[in-house]
Subunit: 366 residues, 2 copies
């Protein structure tokens, strides 16, 4: 079995983490599990103490000689901290995890900072909750880790950052700062803003409307609970790339609004249907959960809502020899029943359903 | 234990379902499990045959005398079918499940149709996939079922529709057609359109951008895979209520775009931060999954990715006597490890963690 802690660390030497919030503390937790010496620093003594208590690393000492510095501070101060850390630790590779890559890079170039030992990073991971208290060693598992090196980047420096990314269980991906910023404007920054603007319409909603809200709305606005302090920095730093996406969206929205003013005008319904169909095409491009309907087959089992039912179900699935690829438990408010939706490989579905039914489980129609 | 099939049906007599798609066939499946005689009809012979083969009901016969007719046809033809069914079955209560309630009601009133035996319904349930093939008896479990009666509605008719709603495991909620349409414009129709417009921006996305897409984007655009044919009808029928919400959203978007043109102008960052903060306030109003962080405590257990592991975990949770309120299984691409996030009542969390650890389970940091 391979997991986060079983393979030896690829990154060499001590790792200094500046900023012991969600990302910094999570990196510390994951690397410490591999035996790496982690030095933590934070402008807030209480945040630093919390992260150390939490097991994410130790306090800095005057004799520290880190081989890698990872800067996990808010985007607004990232460039300044990169410059300070490059000066303070002249043998270390310095990287950062800011969500915007071009602005800090350009600011440092303009100030004439030697960036040979700097490599920009961006792990595409996070949670709606921030702070060391929300940190978890598995935060990065399977997520992309963007690496922005340039022509001057020495191989030894690149291999340290790649090693760090692999140690955290991420998938390293090289791209330029321009590419990175254009990509995240589309798949991260714009969706964040759209979710926030949509959720904002619920602020003064009548209670009756809230009672009708379902999973569709919940999913659509989930990320709207993200922190304003952080996102104003990200959106401001990447405004040049976010703006064209928002302007296109605004123009598309204006077309639909115009069509909805009088849907009986010739062409109006076509405009609305085209907008929904364009969304179909767009969402179909995303891999992952959407692809699961094809990769796995779904079996829905009805369960009593009491201890041991899930245990019995999964024990028997183990006895049948079926591996569970994914699962979802649904609670039905007002019903003493649960639905366990189990994803299995398509080729074992029928056998699994038959075996479960012969053992007395009730399978819901799918 | 109460479940879908164990209690006797509250609805009296035969139920005729017109339109054997996702909703019609799902209603049929659920009521048949309670022994109700279900008569299916559909303009498409192949859809009808599929739903009958599927077990959702039987074909219509000339001697049918249904006591309830449930109309599950697209919104555009709902009013016409209501009128026809009221005429064809003069002793039946007629209801429909269209997502818009005022337009068909008003159209029938204008045509002078006697609506004494008509009661509008709207079960807030659905899937991105349509058709009888996607039907499931548990589709409605725990969801609201809106009932729009008026002053003329006789008690016997109301009790039939309420009985039907309860038989399907839904929560009946009475409101006027105006209220219903205003509420769903906000919590269903606008989110659908926003998800579609956002997803549409991905149509021509560069492959590198798609590779960076994460769960946040996936959730935000999930419902964008809904059917254009259906949604153009819903949005057109409810355009009067959807328009003001879209116009407010468009105006909010314009403010943010203006602020992002130059985030260094005084007040610009404040505008952006206010938009994100307003989204925080809006999303906090939604009950359900978002409230779970408060209602339940989370325990993340690391699992080997092989048969029997989940069974062993849940068996031991049963032995400990802990009820699992909800759970989520995460697969980590590239790692032979799974994360089972189990939600339990906060008061049993510490005991559960201690017991699991003493039994050798590895608990991830939360």
């Amino acid at each position: 079995m391979s997991d986060l802690s079983s393979a030896p660390a690829r990154v060499q030497g001590s790792v200094r983490i500046v900023g012991a919030g969600l990302l910094g503390a999570s990196i510390g937790l994951a690397l410490r599990a591999k035996g790496v010496d982690i030095i933590l620093d934070d402008a807030s003594p209480s945040q630093l103490r919390l992260a150390i208590d939490y097991g994410a690393g130790r306090a800095a000492e005057p004799t520290d000689d880190p081989s890698v510095v990872v800067i996990c501070v808010p985007p607004d101060v990232t460039a300044r901290v990169i410059e300070a850390e490059l000066a303070a630790f002249p043998r270390a590779v310095v990287t950062d995890v800011a969500s915007v890559k071009l602005e800090p890079y350009r600011a440092l170039l303009e100030r004439g900072v030697d960036l040979t030992r700097y490599i920009g990073s961006h792990p595409l991971a996070g949670r709606e909750r921030g702070g060391a208290i929300s940190a978890r060693a598995d935060l990065f598992l399977g997520r992309p880790w963007v690496i922005c090196r340039d022509a001057e980047t020495p191989a030894w420096a690149l291999s340290q950052v790649e090693g760090l990314a692999l140690d955290l269980g991420t998938i390293p991906m090289e791209m330029t700062p321009d590419e990175h910023d254009r990509f995240v404007a589309l798949v991260s920054h714009t969706p964040q803003l759209v979710a926030s603007l949509l959720a904002a319409q619920l602020q003064d909603a009548e209670e009756g409307a809230i009672q009708l809200a379902g999973q569709g709305l919940r999913d659509t606005v989930r990320i709207a609970s993200s922190a304003p302090e952080l996102w104003v920095q990200i959106l401001s730093a990447n405004h040049a790339e976010v703006l064209p996406v928002l302007e296109q969206l605004s123009s598309d929205l204006a077309s639909v609004i115009s069509a909805l003013r009088d849907p009986e005008v010739p062409g109006a319904r076509r405009t609305i249907a085209d907008a929904i169909a364009a969304g179909n095409t767009g969402v179909a491009r995303l891999p992952g959960k959407h692809g699961q309907n094809r990769r796995f087959a779904s079996i829905v089992v009805l369960l009593d809502d009491r201890p041991g039912q899930l245990g019995a179900l999964f024990t028997e699935l183990g006895e049948i020899g079926v591996n569970i690829e994914d699962l979802r438990l649904e609670h039905s408010p007002g019903a003493n029943i649960g639905l366990a939706e189990v994803q299995v490989l398509p080729e074992v579905k029928q056998r699994t359903v038959d075996d479960l039914e012969s053992r007395g489980w009730r399978i819901a129609e799918v």
